[in-house]
């Protein structure tokens, strides 16, 4: 940018307006290249002159350039066309014969045209047919190829042959088929069991008694059979009857008479209004055969009996009376006592 000395410009204009300093303005415009200030040059008309050394073209150069650009108008391809051309060339990459191959073909063609041998002449004169003819031939060959591919193989044909051979003599004749048809027609409308009914029957048939149940039944039958076999015969029973009735049968009694067989236990017992067990020791004497209860009260009575004894039921044991009971040593029978009135003491003897 030119560094304009604005103060000097205003001084030169003086009292005139800035538009009236035409010429003087250019004459006092200065610029700098960074090292020194220089005055900008003008021509005789006051136009700023530009040195060609500044890099700008001359009028002649610019005119030549305009002619060149005008000649290129309409001849430069657009970006789209250039991209299409690039894609086309890329698609041809690797498909175009090299120069060496083209040369080899050219040599071969030239040899065929000039060689007079039968082979080359035959090749040269051969009617290779038109493209349409070749296309039709190709279609026919393709159809034949597809048909051949779809036909049964030898293995399949052999299997079919064997299957047909196995049916030889097994296929019903028309007469037999007619008889079968008549038979089926006669069955039509009959009330056959449904599949559900048949399935239920099958389930019943498939669930017979298990082996375990059969073994159990066999065990019972065996036991009955053994019992029947072991029973006395009629003759034996008659002999037994005779022996029992004529007095000849000897009988042996077992057991023992009730006797005191162990040391007796004695003690006192308080009999109250609550029915309680009567025994001499700490509890009922095991295997006791004798129980004596002596009421030593001079006025009150007690009642003796089972657990349900009350002051009005059971065996009464009066004042100063003694009750002696023979007990079965094999039976552990408890004896209860209850007072008819108040509490009193009794003497107990167990043996």
């Amino acid at each position: 940018m030119a560094d304009i000395a604005l103060g000097q410009l205003l001084h030169t204009a003086g009292d005139n307006t800035l538009s009236q300093t035409d010429g003087a303005l250019h004459g006092y415009m200065r610029g700098t290249d960074g090292t020194a200030t220089r005055t900008i040059k003008t021509d005789a008309n006051g136009n700023i002159t530009i040195s060609p050394d500044s890099g700008l073209g001359t009028e002649a150069t610019l005119a030549a350039l305009e002619v060149l650009l005008t000649s290129l108008d309409g001849k430069v391809a657009t970006d789209a066309k250039l991209e299409a051309a690039r894609a086309l060339l890329a698609s041809l990459d690797g498909k175009v014969a090299t120069e060496a191959k083209l040369e080899a073909v050219r040599t071969l063609v030239a040899l065929a045209q000039t060689n007079t041998s039968d082979i080359f002449q035959a090749v040269k004169l051969r009617d290779w047919g038109k493209e349409a003819t070749l296309a039709n031939a190709k279609n026919v060959l393709d159809a034949i190829s597809a048909a051949v591919a779809a036909r049964a193989t030898e293995a399949t044909l052999e299997s079919a042959n064997q299957a047909l051979a196995s049916l030889d003599g097994k296929v019903a004749t028309d007469a037999k088929l007619e008889a079968a048809r008549l038979l089926l027609a006669s069955l039509n409308g009959k009330d056959f069991a449904t599949q559900t009914t048949l399935a239920a029957v099958l389930a019943k048939l498939a669930d017979p008694a298990t082996a375990t149940k059969q073994d159990a039944a066999k065990g019972v039958l065996d036991a009955i059979s053994a019992a029947v076999a072991a029973r006395a015969t009629e003759a034996t029973l008659a002999a037994v009857k005779t022996a029992l009735t004529d007095g000849s049968q000897k009988v042996q009694l077992s057991g023992s008479k009730v006797r005191i067989a162990s040391a007796p236990a004695t003690g006192v017992k308080t009999v109250t209004g609550t029915a309680a067990e009567v025994f001499a020791g700490t509890s009922r004497k095991p295997g006791r055969s004798r129980l004596e209860i002596a009421n030593r009260h001079p006025a009150l009575a007690i009642r003796v009996g089972p657990a349900g004894v009350t002051d009005t039921t059971g065996r009464s044991v009066g004042p100063l009376a003694t009750l002696a009971l023979d007990m079965d040593p094999m039976s552990d029978v408890p004896i209860y006592a209850v007072s008819e009135a108040g509490a009193l003491t009794v003497e107990v003897f167990e043996a």
Partner: protein, 71 residues
Amino acid sequence: MIYELSPQADSTTRISVDYRDEGVALQGTTHVAGDGDAARAYVAVFDRDLRMNYKRLFPTPPAPEPEEVEM
């Protein structure tokens, strides 16, 4: 004395007593008619009878020393 009541199916109650807590090797068992209340009331009677019948097993408390009388 430790006791235990056990109701029985025949409408009686079994009473079991044990004197181990007193250092005495003695156990007793009896039955009374009725429920637990009747049995509980009879426990004292049963206890007194056992102590009477087996008093030899229970230690006798020492007799008090006679007081010296100054003449």
